[in-house]
C-alpha cells in the first residue's frame, strides 16, 4: 500500500513536468508582459524603467534558460518569485490555498450531500414523477451560468433577505462560505445525482441484489447493505475527476465573491502576466487534482476488497 502510494506519487513527476512545460510555453508567449499596463495601472512605465524591470525579473534571458531555471527551483519545491508582488509564489499560494480548499470541499459536501440522495430517490422511483422531478431539478443546477446564479443568490440572500454577507472571506466563517460553496456546488450536484441514478440502476440489475432479495432481506436492508456500497464504487471515479474541474471553477466564484483563494489569484496573475504565480497556481491546482484522485483510488481499497494496491 505504501509502495503503491509512493509509486503514484512518483508518477506525478512526469505529469507535473509536462504540464509545467506546456504552461510555461503558453504563458511566456502570451502577448504583453509583466511590465505592460494592465487593469488599474496608474501610469505607463517609461521604456527605461520597463527594461530595468525586465532585467530584474530575468525576462531578458532566452526562454529555455528561464525554463531551466524554473525547473531547478521546482525540483526543490520552489515555485519562484512573483513578478509584481513582493512575495515568493510559495508564500502567496500558501495563503490562498486554504480558502480554495475550503470552498471546494464545502461545495463537494453540498454536491454529494444533495446529489447522492437525489440520485438514489430518482433511481429507486425510476420512471415516476419523482424521478423526473429530481432529475430535471438536478439538471437545472448544471444549466445556469455560475456567475449569474451567484449574483441572483447574492441579490436574494443578501439584499432582499439580508441573511448572508454578499462577499468576502470573513476569516472563513460559515456564513461567508455558504453562498460561494452553494454556487460552486450546485452544478456538480447535478452531475453526481445523474451519475448516482445511473449507478443505482445498474447495481439494481446485478445478480447479487437478486440474491439479497432471495434471502428475505427487506428492501431497506438490501439498499443499505448491498446497493449503496456498490453504487459508491461506480460513482467515486466521477466524483474524483469532477473535483478537478470544480477547483477550476473557483476562478469564477472567487472573483465574484471576493474569495481570497487560488482561483482569483490565478486570474489576476494571468491578466497581470505574473507568470510564476500563474504557473504556480496551475501546478498547485493540478497537484490538488492528482492528490484527490489518489485519495479516491485509496478509498477504493477501503470500499472494494477486490482492489488491492501493492
Amino acid at each position: 500500500m505504501t509502495l503503491y502510494v509512493v509509486k503514484r506519487l512518483l508518477q506525478f513527476i512526469p505529469t507535473i513536468f509536462c504540464i509545467s512545460l506546456m504552461m510555461f510555453v503558453i504563458l511566456n508567449v502570451l502577448p504583453g508582459d509583466a511590465t505592460t499596463m494592465s487593469g488599474g495601472m496608474k501610469r505607463q512605465l517609461d521604456a527605461k524603467t520597463a527594461e530595468n524591470m525586465k532585467k530584474q525579473l530575468g525576462l531578458d534571458k532566452p526562454l529555455h534558460i528561464r525554463y531551466l531555471h524554473y525547473i531547478k527551483g521546482l525540483v526543490k519545491g520552489d515555485l519562484g518569485k512573483s513578478y509584481l508582488r513582493s512575495e515568493s509564489v510559495n508564500d502567496l499560494i500558501a495563503q490562498r490555498l486554504k480558502p480554495t480548499i475550503q470552498v471546494s470541499l464545502a461545495a463537494l459536501l453540498i454536491a454529494v450531500g444533495f446529489g447522492i440522495p437525489l440520485g438514489f430517490v430518482s433511481a429507486l422511483k425510476q420512471g415516476t414523477w419523482m424521478d423526473t422531478l429530481s432529475m430535471v431539478g438536478a439538471v437545472s443546477g448544471v444549466s445556469i451560468p455560475q456567475f449569474w446564479l451567484g449574483l441572483i443568490l447574492m441579490y436574494v440572500f443578501s439584499l432582499l433577505l439580508g441573511w448572508l454577507p454578499p462577499q468576502g472571506y470573513g476569516g472563513g466563517s460559515l456564513v461567508n462560505l455558504i453562498m460561494p460553496a452553494f454556487t460552486l456546488g450546485v452544478g456538480y450536484m447535478a452531475l453526481i445525482a445523474r451519475t448516482t441514478r445511473a449507478a443505482v440502476i445498474e447495481v439494481l440489475s446485478e445478480d447479487y441484489i437478486r440474491t439479497a432479495r432471495s434471502k428475505g432481506l427487506s428492501e431497506w436492508i438490501v439498499n443499505r447493505r448491498h446497493v449503496f456500497g456498490n453504487t459508491m464504487i461506480l460513482i467515486l471515479t466521477t466524483v474524483g475527476l469532477q473535483f478537478g474541474s470544480l477547483v477550476g471553477q473557483t476562478v469564477i466564484i472567487e472573483k465574484l465573491f471576493s474569495w481570497p483563494g487560488i482561483g482569483s489569484l490565478l486570474v489576476d496573475s494571468i491578466f497581470q502576466r505574473d507568470i510564476p504565480v500563474t504557473q504556480g497556481c496551475v501546478l498547485v491546482i493540478i497537484g490538488v487534482f492528482l492528490i484527490v484522485n489518489l485519495v479516491i483510488d485509496l478509498m477504493y481499497v477501503i470500499i472494494d476488497p477486490r482492489i488491492q494496491y501493492k
Partner: protein
C-alpha cells in the same frame, strides 16, 4: 403430501415490444423432500416460474394470475413482509452465475450471517460460528479462513458451494436451484451435484432443479417437468420421461443430444434435429406452441390449444395426439 403446488400460474412481462407470456398457465406440484427437475430450453419459462414462486419477479414482469400453494398457503396472498419471512427461510434459491451472485463488497460470513440473523434470533457471533459450520458442510476447505474472505478470492465452484451453504443455512423446505451448474466446468459440476444430493439426504430438503441439461436431470431428479414456450408440456417420473417420452418435443429433445460413447461411423451423420426455432413469446397463437416444429403435427394441432392431460397420478402430457398410456 405436496409441499408445493402451483396452479395455473401466469407471469407476463410488459415491455416496449408488447406483452411476453413468459409463464403461461403453468401448474406443477412437488412433494416434500423430492427432487423435481424442470427442464427446458431458454425462453421456456422455467426460471421465471421459479422467480414467481419466490415473489422476486421485478417490473416490467408481473405475476398475473394463479395460485402458489406452499404448505397449504397461497404465497400470492401474503404481504411483502410475510413473503420476506418465507424467502430464504422456508424457500431458498441458488442461481446460475456464482461469479456475480454474491455481493463483491461483503465478506462471505457477513453474507451468510445476515440471512441467518434475519430469520433466527441469534447473535452475530453465533451466526459467524454457524456460518463456518455450514461452510464445512459444503466441503469448503479451511472454512474459518474462507468465511473471512471476499467472493473474489474464491473460484466459481467455491462460490456455488457458498451459495448452497447460504441457501441451506435456514433449513428451508424447498431449495430452488436455477441452473446451478451450468456455468461450472464438468469436473466441478460433478462435485456440486454430488454435494447437493448428499445435503438433500441430510436436510430432507426438496429441490426444485431447473436446468436445460438432460444429463443433469437424469442424474438427480425423481420427477421431471418439461417446459416449452412458457408451458408445461409433459410431467412424469424421471424413468417415464427418459424411457418413454410422450410429448413429441420431449422425444425430439432426447434424440437430438449427442450421447457419449454411442457413436459409430454411420451414426455420425445424423443427430436428430428439431427444425425451426422457439416461438416468439410475444405472439403466441391459438394453437399448440410446438406445432410448427413438431414432426407429427397436423391441421388439428393448428387449431386447438391442447390441455395438459393427466394420464396417471402425477404424470401428464400436453398433446392432442396423445391417446393414453400406451399409445
Amino acid at each position: 403430501m405436496n409441499i408445493l403446488e402451483i396452479k395455473n400460474l401466469k407471469t407476463q412481462f410488459h415491455v416496449l415490444d408488447g406483452v411476453a407470456h413468459a409463464v403461461n398457465n403453468v401448474s406443477l406440484s412437488m412433494e416434500k423432500g423430492e427432487v423435481l427437475g424442470v427442464v427446458g430450453e431458454s425462453g421456456s419459462g422455467k426460471s421465471v416460474t421459479a422467480l414467481s414462486l419466490m415473489g422476486l419477479v421485478r417490473p416490467p414482469g408481473r405475476v398475473v394470475s394463479g395460485e402458489i400453494l406452499f404448505d397449504g398457503t397461497d404465497l400470492r396472498t401474503l404481504s411483502e413482509k410475510q413473503m420476506q419471512d418465507v424467502r430464504g427461510n422456508r424457500i431458498s434459491m441458488i442461481f446460475q452465475e456464482p461469479m456475480t451472485s454474491l455481493n463483491p463488497l461483503l465478506k462471505i460470513r457477513d453474507q451468510i450471517s445476515e440471512m441467518v440473523m434475519r430469520h433466527n434470533s441469534i447473535s452475530k457471533k453465533d451466526s459467524y460460528d454457524y456460518c463456518v459450520e455450514m461452510l464445512g458442510k459444503v466441503q469448503i476447505p479451511y472454512p474459518e479462513k474462507r468465511a473471512k474472505e471476499y467472493p473474489h478470492q474464491l473460484s466459481g465452484g467455491m462460490r456455488q458451494r457458498i451459495m448452497i451453504a447460504m441457501a441451506l443455512s435456514c433449513n428451508p423446505e424447498i431449495l430452488i436451484a436455477d441452473e446451478p451448474t451450468t456455468a461450472l466446468d464438468v469436473t466441478i459440476q460433478a462435485q456440486v451435484i454430488d454435494l447437493m444430493l448428499n445435503l438433500k439426504e441430510q436436510y430432507d430438503t426438496g429441490i426444485l432443479m431447473i436446468t436445460h441439461d438432460l444429463g443433469v436431470i437424469a442424474e438427480i431428479a425423481q420427477k421431471v417437468v418439461v417446459m416449452y414456450a412458457g408451458q408445461v408440456v409433459e410431467t412424469g417420473t424421471v424413468y417415464e420421461i427418459f424411457d418413454n417420452p410422450k410429448h413429441p418435443y420431449t422425444k425430439a429433445l432426447l434424440d437430438s443430444v449427442p450421447k457419449l460413447g454411442k457413436r459409430s461411423k454411420a451414426e455420425r451423420k445424423r443427430l436428430r434435429e428439431i427444425k425451426g426455432i422457439v416461438p416468439d413469446l410475444f405472439t403466441l397463437g391459438a394453437h399448440c406452441n410446438f406445432y410448427e416444429r413438431c414432426p407429427d403435427a397436423d391441421e388439428a394441432c393448428k387449431r386447438i390449444i391442447p390441455d395438459l392431460i393427466e394420464y396417471e397420478n402425477g404424470s401428464s402430457v400436453r398433446c392432442i395426439k396423445f391417446q393414453g398410456r400406451n399409445a
